[in-house]
Symmetry: C2
Subunit: 214 residues, 2 copies
């Protein structure tokens, strides 16, 4: 397809597509003559991914480039390739290990992983930004006097594991390895706002069921 | 307790507490003499709530004031009071109803609520920001060519309903109506980052179980 059609099918303006081409976020089309290039379905898919990260996820261009480098690196095994792509997305800073709440949260989080039997996640604690984010979130809850029991945390974690099974089952419906990694990155950016909205809506539904509207 | 103790127990500096007092986010203590005021457990709880919104949730001061007005309004029934407090938190703008993806997403979202039997949530569609957020999220997915089936969306929604049941069960363990509303607002700010971290960690665990680390 030509640039105009690529623009129409992706909903991205031709000016923005040219910008992405210049920034190396999109591979050049196949040059037909000096002024015209031909694009294919792979360009369209990549363009959607870039757009999702930049427009929906507000990910900076340099970070998008780094994520794509991992997405395209088929020398990596799938778990590491998925991890590397997701880990390049914006993350929270390293928690302060001098802080007493952070230290307690480390202990509580490791205990949680043991209870859940998440031995693989436990093997990744020193490198996983997700683990780090969880420690920070647990420390914030405790510092603010939010007295969740370990059992409640375990119950939430089990629900999120079911969500992860749905995520990966959906990812596996995609034929190629590149598409699988792309859909995982897209999901990391797009699925979270949807889950959050579903969660709030479910709270309203459940609240109205229990207490009515009075 | 005196200001110094309130500061120590809350982890909020005395200068910041004085700022919250001036801004009307915290009720004045009981004046003992011209220079000393006495604070109680209710001040401590309120201070933690304000701190969570401002420091963790990055909620602007004017919005915090509005949320607190709803938290303190016991003329409202619980569902509406919870809703009004949560709805005052920062929200996404109104979706563009001229957009074809937004119109399709409205249809798809109403269909979802029917499938789920969430009749209460459906009664709130015209006023609920959660519904609006969901429409925007669905439209974004579709615009980017993310081909989730309605069944998959329903499965995610059922998981989020289970999370909402945990939320409200936890809320109900708190004795007074004011504490219940406070814990719900605190949860809206703090629980989402924790669920997101648990979700990512669960993806890593599940990915490693399926594909190993190679």
């Amino acid at each position: 397809m030509r640039l105009a059609e690529l623009s129409e099918r992706s909903g991205v303006s031709t000016a923005t597509i040219k910008y992405y081409l210049r920034e190396g976020l999109l591979a050049p089309g196949r040059q037909i003559n000096t002024t015209t290039a031909e694009y294919d379905e792979e360009h369209l898919r990549r363009l959607r991914l870039v757009r999702a990260m930049i427009q929906v996820g507000r990910v900076p261009v340099a970070t998008v480039r780094e994520v794509l480098r991992h997405v395209d690196d088929d020398s990596l095994g799938r778990t590491i390739r998925l991890g590397a792509a997701l880990w390049a997305l914006p993350q929270i800073p390293e928690p302060d290990t001098e802080d007493e709440y952070v230290r307690a949260a480390h202990g509580e989080t490791e205990q949680l992983l043991d209870t859940l039997g998440w031995s693989n996640a436990k093997a990744l604690v020193t490198i996983s930004p997700a683990y780090r984010s969880l420690v920070v979130a647990v420390a914030a809850l405790r510092r603010l006097g939010y007295d969740w029991s370990p059992e409640l945390l375990t119950s939430y974690a089990r629900l999120m594991h079911q969500a992860a099974v749905l995520d990966l089952d959906f990812m596996e419906t995609h034929p190629t390895e590149a598409e699988k990694v792309e859909v995982a990155v897209l999901g990391a950016v797009l699925v979270q706002p949807m889950l959050q909205a579903l969660h709030r809506l479910a709270q309203e539904e459940e609240s109205a069921r229990r207490y009515g509207f009075e």
